[in-house]
């Protein structure tokens, strides 16, 4: 005897089709823009340029992974769920701490833990504000963003602080199997993230907390700890990214906070690439490369960089509108 079960929602077919169309549309847009740049922007397809895009994307990628984890753990609905607006400013603060310590003559063995610890502290502050004080994430992380940005200015006096260490040299100029150290960082970082987020029980539980808090609690998951954890991780990601930032520029420079827009755009865009319309590491990686390529292509075409941030902002609006439209049942 077979059980007969019917999907009661009669619109479900049209609905899945719609989702499919959005996903395919996203991939098509991605490919289309790549092809457009390949044809029109001179030097876009050279191996030097592609490597350049990947290297640029490393920093963006680390930060976007941080926000992605926050998105996963606090609700895949961007508007009601969590967000970490402080992540780029946090990275700036970490970079400042790191560079200042190196400049004062402390080695990497102290400066790196100090940078990471700074990131974790800011992450903890976010978790405290969101989970313990229950302040709306958009607002609380915005406030923390300003705290971090202010501290960065206090530490650096708003100046460029040069930094050098053997590790930084390796990161900036090292190569292995013909691939630069920064690119390796992205590859290894992404692989680790995939393992944790998509292949470990912790990842699955994090998704369940973000997907339906009540359901997660009903099976005995401590949801609050997972949300705290996601903000801590986001702080950690900022700390790790700060080292790459200093390595790439050989200095800590003001303006790291401006990375927020592309990072946010990438993490949001990533969800469109996934079957479940949830943030994934693979999706975020793809989106990061897309955004990296976008600004790179614009540069090559000689379009003012001012336009890039406009395009990224527009992208955020479109993606959020499309995903929330797709989720509406």
């Amino acid at each position: 005897m077979k059980l007969q079960l019917f999907k009661s929602d009669m619109n479900s077919n049209g609905y899945t089709l719609q989702k499919m169309a959005i996903r395919l549309g996203a991939f098509a847009a991605f490919l289309g823009i790549m092809v457009f740049f390949a044809v029109t922007a001179r030097g876009f397809t050279t191996s030097y340029n592609i490597l350049n895009i990947i290297e640029q994307s490393t920093i963006l990628g680390f930060l976007a992974f941080g926000i992605t984890v926050v998105f996963i753990g606090t609700g895949t609905d961007v508007q009601k769920g969590g967000i970490d607006l402080s992540i780029a400013a946090n990275a700036g603060l970490c970079a400042a701490v790191y560079a200042v310590l190196l400049e004062r003559g402390y080695g990497d063995s102290l400066a790196i833990p100090a940078a990471i610890a700074t990131g974790l502290c800011v992450g903890f502050l976010n978790g405290f504000a969101v989970v313990t004080l229950r302040i709306m994430p958009l607002l609380s992380t915005l406030a923390v963003m300003n705290i971090a940005a202010g501290l960065e200015l206090a530490v650096t006096q708003n100046t460029v602080i040069g930094a050098a260490s053997p590790l930084l040299d390796t990161l900036a100029f090292g190569k292995f199997l013909g691939i630069s150290a920064l690119a390796w960082c992205l590859i290894i970082g992404a692989a680790l993230m995939v393992a944790i987020v998509h292949y470990s029980p912790v990842g699955l539980r994090l998704y369940s907390v973000g997907g339906n808090v009540e359901a997660a609690k009903s099976v005995g998951i401590y949801a609050g700890r997972y949300v705290y954890g996601s903000y801590l991780f986001s702080g950690f990601a900022a700390g790790a990214a700060s080292i790459l930032i200093v390595a790439r520029l050989s200095a800590s420079t003001p303006g790291t906070g401006l990375l927020l827009l592309p990072v946010l755009a990438a993490a949001l865009l990533g969800a469109v690439f996934s079957r479940r319309f949830v943030p994934t590491i693979g999706g975020t990686l793809l989106a990061v490369l897309f955004i990296g390529a976008l600004s790179n292509g614009f540069q090559l075409l000689g379009i003012s960089s001012y336009w890039v941030s406009g395009v990224q902002g527009a992208l955020i609006l479109v993606v959020v509108a499309v995903t929330s439209f797709a989720k509406k049942s």
């Binding site: 005897m1 079960l5 029980p201 997907g211």
Partner: protein, 504 residues
């Protein structure tokens, strides 16, 4: 085989002045399906929550397989093999079937989830218990409601559940799905699992339950076999005939129709609903949870625009696309969740009352405070809202008084049709009587009133006419003094029965 799985003996639970459970008992045997029935507030959910460890009982004892449990927490209960399938499907919609089944019990390979094993085990469980071939990587959001229920049950079975408690499992299911769920339950019963089945639907209780425990006002009225005594007897056991002085009488001549609803339909909520309400008439809509009664009301108020059909007020037909539209054309709604929809708790009583009629007391864009105070004071006195002044914040009032403020708000704007959605829910008896008085006053003023309530006794006593709505369709109409709550309950449960009057 039939050994006792769970026994709850003389359990009492008190909430403030209310005795939610008064020495209630429940005995569940392995290999049986045990129904728990009762009207709203009879103590069904309280006794289940005591068993689940969510509420602590004040008196009585609970035995699992003959051993008394001294302390009960959700974790201990789960260890005993007692699992609860909640009414709201607590599943992560973006998870896969396998993930939902094994969340927090994932098969692992080193530090990683063994996805292949997890999927294989999920497939095997679904196959073994339900003979169901379902791709374990299907997303929960793509499943039917019945399939989601089955995933929840499978999750419990994967953890060796011996007792399954299902709270209104069929509430959101269509008939075909109910059939397949029952097939599943019968199969589990044959495997020796004890099933507790809580439902409003009498026809379902009759077709699936071996024994039924009937609760009324927190007390056991008895444990019976529905096949032996029949549903009529159980319904009679559930309802309480002692209505005495609760309901004030009114004497109003019903006039020309104020509200005419013709073939109103909204996909997956209700279909071809037609009725009329005359001036001074109170028409009840009796339906069980999910029957579509509330949705009809929301459609009339423009909250859920209908797919087709017309709504006429005083003979003019309208299409309400929003509540603003409905209010402008003389419809007022008193919503069920007053905190969410009815009152602004942080405004004063006066401000709340004049919110809907602010245009009437405004001159050139400014609120005329003097006029506000005067009209409000009159209403407060008339309705008996217990407050020192109209300036008091609504937040500080009791539930009953808050509800009166909502009613006053709409009285002040002089609508033609009043839609009442559970106006007396969570309100004390005294306030209930005053709200009934208000309804009578509205009727006396020649308004048309549509009354939705899950308290069928209230409907039977207060309405001139009651329409019974079942799975989105009006299936019956009762008029005048012939209405009684047993009839309504039986009809709304999808059961055409005749009540044995001599048994009452």
């Amino acid at each position: 085989m039939n050994s006792v799985a769970v026994e709850m003996r003389d359990v009492s639970k008190v909430f403030g002045p209310v005795k939610a459970l008064n020495q209630a008992s429940l005995t569940i045997e392995y290999g049986t399906i045990h129904g728990v029935v009762g009207q709203n507030g009879a103590g069904k959910s309280t006794i289940i929550k005591v068993l689940a460890g969510i509420y602590r009982h004040d008196e009585g004892s609970i035995f699992v397989e003959g051993k008394e449990l001294k302390s009960i927490t959700p974790k201990i209960i789960e260890k005993c093999g007692i699992h609860f399938i909640h009414q709201d499907r607590l599943l992560v919609s973006t998870a896969t079937v396998a993930e939902a089944i094994f969340l927090r019990n994932e098969p692992t390979f080193g530090p990683f989830i063994n996805h292949r094993k997890m999927n294989a085990q999920a497939t095997e469980l679904l196959q073994r218990y339900f003979d169901l071939e379902l791709d374990p990587t299907t997303l929960i959001t793509d499943l039917s409601t019945a399939q989601q229920k089955i995933v929840q049950i499978t999750r419990s079975l994967s953890q060796n559940a011996k007792v399954l408690v299902l709270d209104e499992p069929t509430a959101a299911l269509v008939t075909k799905e109910v059939e397949s769920l029952f097939t599943v339950l019968r199969r589990l019963k044959e495997e020796g699992i004890a099933i507790v089945f809580i439902s409003h639907y009498m026809s379902e209780i009759e077709s699936i339950c071996d024994t039924v425990t009937v609760l009324r006002n927190g007390e056991n009225v008895g444990q019976v076999s529905p096949k032996e005594v029949g549903i009529e007897k159980i319904v009679t056991m559930m309802t309480n005939r002692d209505t005495s002085e609760m309901y004030p009488r009114r004497n109003v001549e019903v006039g020309a129709p104020v509200l005419e609803v013709d073939n109103l339909s909204l996909a997956s909520h209700f279909d071809s609903v037609s009725f009329q309400v005359g001036a001074g008439e109170v028409v009840g809509l009796a339906g069980l949870l999910g029957s579509g009664d509330k949705e009809v009301l929301q459609s009339l108020f423009g909250l859920l625009p209908p797919d087709s059909g017309t709504v006429s007020i005083d003979g003019t037909s309208h299409k309400f696309r929003s509540p603003v539209n409905a209010v402008e054309n003389g419809i007022a709604m008193i919503p069920e969740d007053r905190r969410a929809h009815g009152v602004a708790v942080n405004l004063s009583i006066a401000e709340n009352i004049t919110l809907a009629s602010v245009d009437k007391i405004s001159k050139r864009g400014f609120v005329n405070r003097q006029e506000e105070i005067e009209s409000v004071d009159a209403l407060i006195e008339e309705l008996g809202v217990k407050t020192p002044s109209g300036d008091m914040l609504v937040r500080n009032l009791s539930g009953g008084n808050q509800q009166k403020v909502v009613v006053a708000k709409w009285l002040s704007c002089d609508s033609r049709v009043y839609l009442l959605d559970e106006p007396t829910v969570a309100v004390d008896v005294g306030s209930k009587i005053e709200i009934y008085g208000l309804i009578n006053r509205l009727a006396a003023e020649g308004k048309g009133i549509v009354f939705v309530s899950s308290d069928f006794e209230e409907l039977a006593e207060m309405c001139d006419r009651v329409l019974v709505i079942y799975k989105g369709e009006i299936i019956g109409e009762y008029e005048g003094s012939s209405i009684n709550s047993e009839q309504l309950l039986a009809a709304a449960s999808g059961k055409k029965i005749t009540i044995n009057r001599s048994a009452v």
